[in-house]
Symmetry: D3
Subunit: 283 residues, 6 copies
Amino acid sequence: MWNKNIETFIGCESSFEEAEIVLFGAPFDSTTSYRPGTRFASRTMRAESFGLETYSPYQDKDLTGIHVFDGGDLELPFGNTERALNEIREAAQEIVDADKIPCMIGGEHLVTLGAVKAVFEKYPDLHVIHFDAHTDLRDDYLGESLSHATVIRRIWDLVGDHKIFQFGIRSGDRTEFNWAKEHTDLHKFNFEGLEQAVEACKGHPVYFTIDLDVMDPSAFPGTGTPEAGGVTFLELLTAIGKVGKLDIVGMDVNELSPIYDQSGASTAVACKVLRELLLAVNK
Amino acid sequence: MWNKNIETFIGCESSFEEAEIVLFGAPFDSTTSYRPGTRFASRTMRAESFGLETYSPYQDKDLTGIHVFDGGDLELPFGNTERALNEIREAAQEIVDADKIPCMIGGEHLVTLGAVKAVFEKYPDLHVIHFDAHTDLRDDYLGESLSHATVIRRIWDLVGDHKIFQFGIRSGDRTEFNWAKEHTDLHKFNFEGLEQAVEACKGHPVYFTIDLDVMDPSAFPGTGTPEAGGVTFLELLTAIGKVGKLDIVGMDVNELSPIYDQSGASTAVACKVLRELLLAVNK
Amino acid sequence: MWNKNIETFIGCESSFEEAEIVLFGAPFDSTTSYRPGTRFASRTMRAESFGLETYSPYQDKDLTGIHVFDGGDLELPFGNTERALNEIREAAQEIVDADKIPCMIGGEHLVTLGAVKAVFEKYPDLHVIHFDAHTDLRDDYLGESLSHATVIRRIWDLVGDHKIFQFGIRSGDRTEFNWAKEHTDLHKFNFEGLEQAVEACKGHPVYFTIDLDVMDPSAFPGTGTPEAGGVTFLELLTAIGKVGKLDIVGMDVNELSPIYDQSGASTAVACKVLRELLLAVNK
Amino acid sequence: MWNKNIETFIGCESSFEEAEIVLFGAPFDSTTSYRPGTRFASRTMRAESFGLETYSPYQDKDLTGIHVFDGGDLELPFGNTERALNEIREAAQEIVDADKIPCMIGGEHLVTLGAVKAVFEKYPDLHVIHFDAHTDLRDDYLGESLSHATVIRRIWDLVGDHKIFQFGIRSGDRTEFNWAKEHTDLHKFNFEGLEQAVEACKGHPVYFTIDLDVMDPSAFPGTGTPEAGGVTFLELLTAIGKVGKLDIVGMDVNELSPIYDQSGASTAVACKVLRELLLAVNK
Amino acid sequence: MWNKNIETFIGCESSFEEAEIVLFGAPFDSTTSYRPGTRFASRTMRAESFGLETYSPYQDKDLTGIHVFDGGDLELPFGNTERALNEIREAAQEIVDADKIPCMIGGEHLVTLGAVKAVFEKYPDLHVIHFDAHTDLRDDYLGESLSHATVIRRIWDLVGDHKIFQFGIRSGDRTEFNWAKEHTDLHKFNFEGLEQAVEACKGHPVYFTIDLDVMDPSAFPGTGTPEAGGVTFLELLTAIGKVGKLDIVGMDVNELSPIYDQSGASTAVACKVLRELLLAVNK
Amino acid sequence: MWNKNIETFIGCESSFEEAEIVLFGAPFDSTTSYRPGTRFASRTMRAESFGLETYSPYQDKDLTGIHVFDGGDLELPFGNTERALNEIREAAQEIVDADKIPCMIGGEHLVTLGAVKAVFEKYPDLHVIHFDAHTDLRDDYLGESLSHATVIRRIWDLVGDHKIFQFGIRSGDRTEFNWAKEHTDLHKFNFEGLEQAVEACKGHPVYFTIDLDVMDPSAFPGTGTPEAGGVTFLELLTAIGKVGKLDIVGMDVNELSPIYDQSGASTAVACKVLRELLLAVNK
């Protein structure tokens, strides 16, 4: 009767070997300039996923029918951004090397950079689909080049022009919006133009990064920088369904901050987004 | 000047004798498998209803113009589910026997079973309209046949096939959705098909049960198991208006959990739903 | 390096002299009959505005490009309503006398009366556009003529019939709605009819008062009396854009109650509404 | 079975006629200059008293063995301090006229003035025992003579020098402490000197007012202005036992602010203080 | 690198085989009559134990130096009290049968009955040391014989007179205190008399049950029924040190309710109590 | 009337030139390994100091009678620990160079290192008095040499053996306690031995660093890592009085985390500690 206490996101109970997707947490938020706390997202989602069904009536699929391994959380050093990103990259590397899809739970959005580096090494033609309220395109922020506010710019350093497709964006400074006009495919406010972006990504390897604050604060208040004017959960669901048809080689969900989620509704919606993402990407 | 301190839901100050509708609370949540707390819904709604107007600009009706008696809360034993349901049934029985409409405030959704039993005894042709995020159609849950997750199945044991109309459903396991195809009239996600259901119920006695989590967590986060993808308050209002035209012989609102409602907005919307329900059902 | 610690709403760093708009807080909530706490709105908004960008992608304008002075908060006596209103009036008077636009952060909605009195003295043809969930048209409330629930009625005492345009209203007693039919231009629930109202106000000086609870509690739960059935943030944004084209001579945003805003999302949306309002009104 | 829903503080179920003590709430906090919210104390204590036993193992007495009537809450106008105090005075007058002891639940501390006025009229030799963290001896506060910060000074206007005995005081301005040296019997920090004060009050009618913030914030954080360095619950209990032996003709407990009491522990201790006070005063 | 995600209370990483003590959670609170929520104690303590050191400067011992296995949480049916207790008993039985000491994390206090039954079967001379704010000696509660309020009475049914030693008790009804005079060794308010009790238990097998609400709410507010007047953390620590010298054959800590612990300080103190208990009992 | 909005800690309104003490905030918490949030301490204390009196009845001194300048908060880069510490050092340097005493509000405890470096440069004989629950003596933490858990060790790198006096320590690993035996003067649990330490520091320049978690969580729950078993507020006050008599050349208070302080009582006690510290150090 008595076994070790294994905790996974609900329905993600495959072994590493049989898994197609490998889930792991990257509890890091040291560069968060406003309200920290996303470091607790992965462990909270794991615990609260108990309130979620494994079955999706939207996709008529079930987490028990696919193969996901949950490797728990990385132990990252706080305050040393470079080292933390390296550790994320190495973790993702092992997953990519095993021909599996890394699915990371942030943490602040900067963690995406670590995972993208690992994926990009294998897939130099990497395209990136980015759902977010924020541009994240600053070249530096408070003098730092590695920051939650610069992460997509750093990814652009890797993948180059016209490989990054941004949706839902409604916050940033003017220079970022202007810069985007020449270098990324930025869509303000919602998912208008997503079909064309999906079309453009067909046949290419795609990294899919979801900053959960792309949702309106009414649906997702529990985040460091809630930005009014976002998309609904159902709009996000539909968009995930479209992107999920692409050749996803890496993905993440970011920026849940449980301390600002007294009702638990933000954690619950984050769990559901993750379930739908896993089911949509699974082939 | 000094009288006993009588507390009612706002505007529900009739005597039992003159009342058409009898309001009471069923503070029970012992089978809640995830986050308990709905036991405090009725007393919190009563206290916070002070922030609500008695007048509805939607229906142009006023609670002071109809006759509702508020009998306070039942004192239910925690941990003994069968006994608690019997006490609910007996309370509802007295109301039904007096030719009045019971309107119960849960509590977890299982309390509905107690009230339905009382109503069904008098109205063997009982039809049930069920708004909820969850199917509640399991045959047993964690080995228990009496559970918040089985309540509609237990009601089906009484009323039988094709008498139960479910709306807004977006969570359950696959077997429940499949079972529903043959035994109930289940509508996923929203109120599509409600007109036909109302048509089908015309001329029959109807029990109307509202699990408030049918609303999206953006409108109603303060509940044990918030499920993204629900209906808006205005959609619920419109639906209540349609159902309210039927021959309602019993009704309830369930699953507000005040402890998860730091802002009070969930309690406030629950109060407003109750006001609109009372006004819609009153003839 | 070491200077005094000046705190302003983000981007509102003009001197009084060069400013077109003068921002100030009126931290008063003594007549609030239900849940007090709006006295902390202005200082909380100032502190939390640090999480907001100065640039609006909606209007393609930036707070750093316009001239707003932030004068901090008035120090108002609690419990003496008349004196508090006088002090608000005097403060607004100085702004109006300097040919600037006062932009007040409440506080409960009654503070509007103080500012309107100052503005009305200079602009006897004053028209008022009022966004709110509540009618605020009672003649007295709990025996008091000066109350958050009577404020628009008191303003009507000044400006008279057919000068007040109300939108989003969904709570009040029947007599208020009836009274409005003859004296104000009241629009229930949303912004239907706003274009005509804007047309009617053209060429007249306009005071624009926004009770933030005009928004649905899903978007703005952090307020004393949340009223389900309100407008979305984007609907409010569009409406502000339309009204902002008028000749605004005074304005305010009211009724944020930070203590009921555990996630901070209500404060964040209030800050964004204020940013958009400042940008829309600035010529 | 179905009766009106009567809510009392636990064990306070006597009729007005048979009662020796009459409990009532004075939900007023309009002059609170810092954090309002005490208006909700009485109704919250009534609801949460359900978690308390009626039996005191400290005094070996039981609330079911004494006679207390709970008259509910007064309906007070917010924002009009003078009128509110008059209504409190009238309510207390009726109790005093019936030869019963008024026991008021505040509200901010200013409500005490209303009750003391009623009691003083009958007992011109009134002595006052005052437990508090704050001096409350300002002559005016923000220009107002009626304020939570002036209440004991206003009572001194009535009863005069050397009739007021203050304990636990640890906050005020220097002029207040100096003024007290000539006019009241002020004891800093704790209950040192209480025996002598009790001795001095013997044979005189005594009004006993407890600002619950006399307790240390560790025991009682849920108040508007928590002041570190206070007494423990057990020290307060012992002190109540000593004062309770006097000829108490009126009493109150004040300044619980439920909104700052997330754990409920402050409300629970307030309920227990009230139980012990009722049992100690009862003869 | 990628292993399954094993979560234990900090420093409790032995295998079942090598362990002397077996830790497990019993997440059950269905009979809680006031505020439920203790079901989340064990998983929250496990997660938050990350903030605790394994080393105790009080005992100069380290969790890494003893052998504790953490078996995770039982999956208990809510609403069926008898079945839940049986499952707890069976789990404890397996531990006792393997000659190890069960250490259970509740849950409400009733869970103790399940564990005691298992232990008692092996040790018919079982003595019980009970730290609590509440007597828990009712014969039935709201008509139920199995309840958090009856648990020690039910244990008395097993072990008989003068085998139960109760400390810290300060809440109950008069009949319970009277009944205790003849049947248990009840010490009110604190640990006076503990040395004698320890003396009396020497040479006997002892079950040690700690209801954490024995601590004062200042130290431990996060519980369902906080009772002012309790012991400090350091007093509890000293008492645990004394009891830990006995022949402990089973033990538990109960009644942490994380939902009422916004600051996390109650969870932190519960974790530290558990650490000290494990270190004190380990030989 | 209309001036810029200057915000200071209450009573700290001197100019930089006339000030003896210069207050500033260091909002940094990037290396916090458990629960971040101390970055908001300084701004929250400034805002909430409005609830505090400037007069101390403990010391019979008043903040309005001494000279303190409040320079606001530094703008520190998150995620780059080295740069942040440099900026703190430079800020402190300017204060020390002007022959004033820096008084810093953290932030996590690591910020102390920046200020000590500045002070140490001027006073090579610097002694350090350290109140804390934690040893903070690790040589590295999670591989980082700059961390909240290593800060006192890094300070020892500067000042050397037997210059650091630690009090209240009750958490750390065994190696830290052992290391301290040879290198610092560490006192476990409370202030025993403080007189001797003060004696030893007489005639030397002293840096005084207070980690507020030296207080028991009952008095100060609002911190990242609450450690049961700490000192009371009054014990801390007495200790500050003793240390304040020394030649303090720099000081700080750290580790308030407002997000974990729902009641505000932790912020209030932090403000009072700061007031008493400023008054005690002022000559």
